[in-house]
C-alpha cells in the first residue's frame, strides 16, 4: 500500500517539475523575448512585448516586427540608431506599416520563431522569397505593367547611355553625378521610379529650351536634340522604370521567349501548357525535388525545370528551350512573380484596375513584342523556324518565299484558326486572345522581318486547278511524301491534310509554293530543277494540288 503513496508522491513531484519547466520555457525562454531584451534606446531597455502589423484588407497579421523591432511602426527612437534587428526598413515605396511584411516578402506572418516565420519549415507553402528575387512579390498586385520584349528594353538602356542622360539623371542606381545647374547645385531627378508618376509630357521641350539657352555645362554638352523615333523609344523605356528593374527585365524575357504561345497568363495565351497565373505560389511540398540539385526551394525547382522540363515533369510537352543561365535566372524570377491575388480596390494598383476594366495588355502590343511573346518559342526569334528534339519541326514563317505567295487573308485566317490538333493554337480573341488588330500587327511584322516582303493580292479565284489527281498522287508519293507523309499528315513538315489548311489555302498559293519552294528550308522549288530533283511541269504541279484537294473532299 505504501507503493501507491510513493507512486503518488514521485509522480506529483515530477509533474510539478515539468509544469514549472513548461511554464518557464513557454513564457520566458522565447527567442523574441531575448532579442527584445537585448535592445535598448539610450540605455533604457525597450518594452518587451509582442509586436505585429495587422492589415485586415490584405488578410495579413505580420509578427515579423516582433524580432525585426526596428521595422515596427512607431519604433523610431530604436530605429534611429539601430543596427541588425533594430535597424529600420530601408525606404520603400510601400510603407511596411500600410502593407505589412509578408505581402512583399512572403513567409509566415503569424509565426514568432525564426524558421517558422521565414517559412523554412515543412507544411508552410509560402516560404520567404530569396533576396535576389524579393521583387517577385510585386506580381501579386502589379500584374499589368506593359513591358516590351528584351531587345527593346535593352535598346532603352543603350539610348540612355547614347544620349548621355545618365550624366545628370540617376536611373536604377547608375549615373547622376553631374549637376545640370552647377552653381545652384540642383540635382537632376532620379528616374528610377518615373514610370510610377508618368513622364512629364513637356520634359523634352524644357530640355531643349535649356539646351538652347546654355552656353556651357551639361545642358550644352550632355544634352542634344533627340530624333523622334529615339524619343518615343526613350519614353517607352522610362515608362517601365517603376523601381523594379529586375522584375521588368524578367518579365520582358518572358515576353521574348514566346511563352504565351503555349501558356496562359491573365486569360491570354495558348492552352498547351499549364495556366501560369499563380505559378509563383507553387507549394514546395507538392513538387518533385528528386532531380533538383541544391536546396529544396521553388526557385531551384523552376530553374532546373526551365533547363530541362521533361526531366522534372513526366510527359511534359515543353521542349528544352536552350536558355542561357542568365535567361533562366530571369525567367525563374518572373515565374516567382506570378502570384496574382484579388485585392480590394484600395489595394489594387490603378493600372491593374484600368487594365482589368479596359482589357489592356501586360505586354506592349508592337509587332516585335507580340511576335516574340506569342510566336518565337516555336518559329524562332527571327521567324526562321525551329526544331526541337523529338518534335515536329516548326515551319519558317518569316520566309520571303512564303510571304511572297501567302496573302494577308490566308495568314490572318491561319493565325486566327491555328491548326487544331497540332501545336499551332488558334490565336483568335476567343481562344488565345489576340485581337484582329494585334494579329494584323504580327503579320505586318513578319513581312518586315522577312525583308519587307509585299503582300500578294488576295486571290481572285480560290479554287481553279482542275488536273489529274491520280497523276498527282503518283507525283506526291514520289516527291512530297518523304517529308509531308504519305497521307499528308506531315511528320517532318507542315501537315497538308489539315482541314483548316485546305480550307484557307487557295490554289494559287499551293501552286506557287510548290513552284517556288522555300529557301532556307528543305522545301525546294519544283519549278526549276536541280540535278538531284528534276523540275516538274506546271500541269504536274497542278496535279499534285488536285491530289491535295482530294483530302479536303473526304
Amino acid at each position: 500500500m505504501n507503493k501507491n503513496k510513493h507512486l503518488l508522491l514521485w509522480s506529483s513531484l515530477a509533474v510539478l517539475a515539468l509544469l514549472v519547466a513548461a511554464a518557464v520555457e513557454e513564457n520566458y525562454l522565447k527567442e523574441w523575448r531575448r532579442i527584445q531584451q537585448s535592445m535598448a534606446v539610450e540605455g533604457e531597455p525597450i518594452d518587451v512585448r509582442l509586436r505585429q502589423i495587422v492589415i485586415p484588407e490584405l488578410g495579413t497579421t505580420d509578427r515579423c516586427v516582433t524580432c525585426h523591432v526596428g521595422m515596427a511602426p512607431g519604433e523610431m527612437a530604436l530605429a534611429a540608431e539601430g543596427t541588425g534587428l533594430a535597424a529600420p526598413h530601408p525606404f520603400v515605396w510601400h510603407d511596411p506599416a500600410e502593407f505589412g511584411c509578408t505581402t512583399c516578402h512572403g513567409g509566415q506572418g503569424l509565426a514568432t520563431e525564426t524558421a517558422d516565420a521565414h517559412g523554412e519549415v515543412r507544411h508552410w507553402p509560402e516560404p520567404m522569397l530569396p533576396g535576389r528575387f524579393a521583387y517577385a512579390s510585386c506580381g501579386s498586385c502589379h500584374t499589368h505593367l506593359g513591358v516590351p520584349d528584351f531587345e527593346q528594353l535593352d535598346f532603352g538602356v543603350r539610348l540612355l547611355e547614347r544620349h548621355d542622360c545618365l550624366a545628370c539623371h540617376a536611373v536604377d542606381g547608375r549615373g547622376g553625378t553631374t549637376r545640370p545647374f552647377a552653381a545652384a547645385g540642383i540635382e537632376a531627378p532620379d528616374l528610377s521610379h518615373v514610370g510610377l508618376t508618368g513622364v512629364d509630357p513637356y520634359w523634352y521641350v524644357h530640355h531643349l529650351e535649356h539646351h538652347e539657352l546654355a552656353d556651357e555645362g551639361p545642358w550644352k554638352t550632355s544634352f542634344a536634340p533627340i530624333d523622334p523615333a529615339d524619343l518615343t523609344a526613350l519614353e517607352a523605356y522610362l515608362g517601365t522604370r517603376v523601381g523594379a528593374p529586375g522584375l521588368v527585365a524578367a518579365k520582358s524575357t518572358f515576353h521574348t521567349r514566346g511563352c504565351y504561345g503555349c501558356h496562359q497568363l491573365g486569360g491570354v495565351g495558348g492552352d498547351e501548357g499549364p495556366d501560369l497565373d499563380r505559378a509563383g505560389l507553387m507549394d514546395p511540398e507538392l513538387l518533385d525535388f528528386s532531380e533538383v540539385p541544391g536546396e529544396r526551394t521553388v526557385a531551384n525547382w523552376l530553374a532546373t525545370h526551365l533547363h530541362h522540363p521533361a526531366a522534372l515533369v513526366d510527359g511534359s510537352q515543353m521542349p528544352a528551350m536552350g536558355l542561357s543561365d542568365e535567361e533562366i535566372e530571369l525567367l525563374t524570377f518572373y515565374m516567382l512573380s506570378l502570384r496574382r491575388e484579388e485585392r480590394t480596390a484600395a489595394f489594387t494598383p490603378n493600372d491593374r484596375l484600368e487594365a482589368e476594366r479596359f482589357g489592356a495588355r501586360e505586354f506592349t502590343t508592337d509587332g516585335p513584342t507580340l511576335y516574340a511573346a506569342f510566336c518565337s518559342a516555336c518559329h524562332g526569334a527571327e521567324g526562321q523556324g525551329r526544331r526541337y528534339p523529338d518534335a515536329i519541326p516548326f515551319p519558317s514563317v518569316a520566309n520571303a518565299d512564303f510571304l511572297a505567295v501567302a496573302s494577308d487573308g490566308f495568314l490572318r485566317e491561319t493565325l486566327r484558326r491555328g491548326r487544331l490538333g497540332r501545336r499551332m493554337p488558334a490565336f483568335a480573341a476567343d481562344q488565345v486572345g489576340l485581337t484582329d488588330e494585334e494579329i494584323d500587327t504580327v503579320i505586318a511584322y513578319l513581312r518586315h522581318l522577312a525583308g519587307d516582303v509585299p503582300a500578294p493580292p488576295e486571290p481572285a479565284q480560290f479554287r481553279w486547278v482542275e488536273a489529274d489527281a491520280a497523276l498527282g498522287e503518283t507525283l506526291y508519293r514520289q516527291h512530297c511524301a518523304s517529308c509531308h507523309g504519305a497521307e499528308g499528315d506531315g511528320p517532318e513538315a507542315p501537315a497538308l491534310d489539315h482541314p483548316t489548311f485546305l480550307e484557307t489555302a487557295d490554289d494559287s498559293y499551293l501552286v506557287d509554293t510548290i513552284t517556288r519552294g522555300r529557301s532556307g528550308t528543305p522545301m525546294h522549288g519544283f519549278g526549276s530543277g536541280t540535278p538531284a530533283f528534276p523540275a516538274l511541269a506546271a500541269e504536274e504541279i497542278e496535279a499534285i494540288v488536285s491530289h491535295l484537294r482530294t483530302w479536303q473532299e473526304e
Binding site: L7, S11, V15, R63, A111, H123, D283, E285, L287, D288
Partner: protein, 515 residues
C-alpha cells in the same frame, strides 16, 4: 449566556479567529478521517467520492489487477477536458479563421502550444488506454455476471472516445484534418456500395444520409466544422461524463472489481505495516452497507481483506492520475501536435489517411467500402457486446487469461491471429483480389468475399473450433478477442506505415514517389 457577557466586538473577533476551523469543519462534517467511521463518512458524505465504495478489497489495489487502466482512461479524459476548455477561449470554429486561431494558439497565446500539445496527447493516450482497459477487463473476465451491463456501458464509452477524438481531428482545419475527415465521411457513406449493388440507392440511401448527417452538407465545409465542434465540445463530452458516471457507479454496485473466488486466501493477511486496516472493533455501523440492495463488498465476507478507500484507494487513484498526467506532459513537451497547410479542397492529400485508430478500418474499406465501413465494425461491436451474455462460466474470473486454455490458448491465438491477418493482407497485396482477376465481377461478390470478410470468417471459425475443443464459450471468446486485437493491430500498422500514395503498398514511406 457567556456571549451576553462579552462585548459584540469581542464576539466578532472570537468568531473571526474561529472562522478557518469552522470552514474546515463545515467542509468535512465528519471530522478528520482518523477513525473507520470518519473515513467512511469522508467518502459517502462527499458527492464526488461517494461514487466509490467506502472500503476497497486489497485484491483491487494490486497493481497487476488493473494496471490502473480504467482510472488512467478517466484521467486522460480529465486532462483533455481541462486543456480543451482552455483551448476554447481562443479557438474560432470557422474555416480558415480556425486555422489562423490554431496558429495563434501555437505562436502567441501564452503556453498555448503546450496546452494544445497536452490536449492532443491526452486524447491519443486516452484512445490507447481505453483499448488496453477493455483488453484488461476481457482477459480477467471482468465482464461476467453481475457486470455484464457495465461491459456494455464500457463499449459505449469506447465508441464515445473514438467519436470525441475523431470530431476533434477536423477542428484545426489543416490538410491533415480536412482529408482525414473526408475519408471518415466517405467511410460513413459506405453502405452505398451495398445499395448501389442492389440498385436501390435512389430510394433508400442510408450511406448518403449518414454522410449528410455527419457533414451537414455535401462537402467538408463550414457546416461540417461547426457540427464537429459542437459534438466535440458539448454533446460527446456530456454523453461521456454521463456514461462514465454510470460506469464507475456500477463498479461499486456490482461489488467492486471482479476477483477470484479464492482471492482472500491468496492474499493472506495484510502485511503488518498496512495502516489503517481496522482501527476499531467492528460495530454495528460496519454492516450499514449491507442494507443497500445487491451484492456489496462486505456481504458474506470477512472484512479483513478490505481496507478503507480513504486513504488507500485514493492514493492509488491519485497516483495513476499523476502518472497519466506525467506521460502526457512528457509527450507534450517532446512532440508538437501536427499542423499542416491550410485545408485546400483543390489539393488532395495523397495518401489521405484517417486518424490512426481508424486506419484498420480504412484498410478494410480499401477491400470493400461497405464491409470495412459498416459490416465488420458492426459485427465486432455486436460480438463484443454479446460476450458477457454468452460466457456464463465462472472459472478464471478475476485472473489474467483466466478460463479454459488460459495463457497458452491466448498465446496460440495471438500467433494464429497475427499470421492470419498478415497472411491474407500479404496475399491481397502480392496477388491482388477478385477485381484484378475478373474485371467484370459484380461488386456484390467482392463485398462479401474480400480479405476483410475472409479474415473475419476465419477468426469466427477458429473461435467456434475453440468452443468445441475446450467445451467452453470462454475459450472461444479468448480466441476471438485475441484474434480481434491482432487483426486490429496488423491492419492499423499496414494502414499507418505500409500504405502510400493511392493506398499502394510500400515497404517504407521513404520509398513513396515524390509529390
Amino acid at each position: 449566556m457567556a456571549d451576553s457577557e462579552r462585548s459584540g466586538l469581542g464576539v466578532f473577533f472570537a468568531n473571526l479567529k474561529e472562522a478557518p476551523q469552522r470552514v474546515l469543519r463545515s467542509l468535512f462534517r465528519s471530522g478528520p478521517p482518523a477513525t473507520d467511521r470518519s473515513r467512511s463518512s469522508f467518502v459517502f458524505d462527499n458527492v464526488f467520492l461517494h461514487i466509490h465504495a467506502v472500503r476497497t478489497h486489497r485484491w483491487s489495489l494490486r497493481w497487476a489487477t488493473t494496471w490502473g487502466l480504467g482510472v488512467a482512461s478517466a484521467a486522460a479524459f480529465l486532462i483533455a477536458l481541462a486543456t480543451g476548455v482552455l483551448l476554447m477561449f481562443y479557438y474560432k470554429p470557422y474555416p480558415e479563421v480556425a486555422y489562423d486561431s490554431i496558429k495563434d494558439i501555437h505562436f502567441v497565446v501564452p503556453t498555448g502550444r503546450f496546452i494544445r500539445n497536452l490536449h492532443r496527447w491526452a486524447a491519443n493516450v486516452m484512445v490507447v488506454v481505453v483499448f488496453l482497459h477493455m483488453a484488461r477487463t476481457f482477459y480477467t473476465a471482468g465482464y461476467r455476471s453481475p457486470r455484464e451491463f457495465n461491459w456494455l456501458i464500457g463499449l459505449g464509452l469506447l465508441v464515445t472516445t473514438l467519436g470525441l477524438s475523431f470530431t476533434g481531428y477536423l477542428l484545426p482545419w489543416d490538410q491533415l484534418a480536412y482529408w482525414a475527415i473526408t475519408i471518415g465521411a466517405n467511410i460513413a457513406q459506405s453502405p452505398q456500395e451495398l445499395t448501389d449493388a442492389v440498385g436501390i440507392t435512389e430510394y433508400f440511401d442510408p450511406g448518403g444520409l449518414q454522410r449528410e448527417l455527419l457533414l451537414g452538407s455535401d462537402v467538408v465545409g463550414a457546416d461540417a466544422l461547426i457540427r464537429f465542434y459542437l459534438l466535440h465540445v458539448m454533446v460527446l463530452p456530456l454523453l461521456f461524463v454521463a456514461l462514465l458516471a454510470a460506469h464507475i457507479w456500477r463498479v461499486r454496485k456490482d461489488g467492486g472489481l471482479a476477483r477470484p473466488a479464492d482471492a482472500d486466501d491468496r492474499l493472506g493477511p495484510p502485511p503488518p505495516d498496512t495502516y489503517p486496516v481496522f482501527t476499531e472493533t467492528p460495530q454495528k455501523t460496519y454492516h450499514l452497507a449491507a442494507i443497500v440492495e445487491g451484492r456489496t463488498p462486505a456481504v458474506d465476507q470477512s472484512p479483513e481483506n478490505t481496507v478503507p478507500s480513504m486513504p488507500h484507494l485514493f492514493y492509488a487513484e491519485m497516483g495513476v492520475l499523476m502518472v497519466t498526467l506525467l506521460v502526457c506532459l512528457l509527450l507534450a513537451l517532446s512532440f508538437d501536435a501536427p499542423l499542416k497547410e491550410l485545408a485546400n479542397p483543390m489539393v488532395p492529400e495523397n495518401p489521405a489517411k484517417a486518424p490512426w485508430y481508424f486506419l484498420g478500418l480504412q484498410e478494410l474499406v480499401a477491400y470493400s467500402a461497405f464491409m470495412g465501413g459498416v459490416g465488420i465494425p458492426t459485427l465486432v461491436i455486436i460480438g463484443l457486446g454479446l460476450i458477457p451474455y454468452l460466457d456464463r462460466e465462472t472459472r478464471g474470473t478475476g485472473e489474467w487469461f483466466g478460463g479454459p486454455g488460459g495463457g497458452r490458448l491466448v498465446w496460440h491465438s495471438t500467433v494464429i491471429g497475427l499470421a492470419a491477418a498478415v497472411g491474407i493482407a500479404a496475399f491481397a497485396i502480392y496477388f491482388g483480389w477478385l477485381r484484378e482477376w475478373f474485371p467484370d465481377i459484380p461488386q456484390l461478390v467482392i463485398t462479401f468475399v474480400n480479405p476483410g470478410t475472409i479474415l473475419a470468417a476465419f477468426y469466427a471459425a477458429y473461435s467456434l473450433y475453440l468452443v468445441r475443443r475446450y467445451n467452453s464459450t470462454r475459450a472461444g471468446a479468448l480466441g476471438l478477442f485475441t484474434c480481434f486485437l491482432c487483426g486490429f493491430v496488423v491492419l492499423t500498422v499496414i494502414g499507418w506505415y505500409f500504405r502510400g500514395p493511392n493506398w499502394d503498398f510500400y515497404w517504407s514511406p521513404a520509398d513513396w514517389p515524390a509529390h
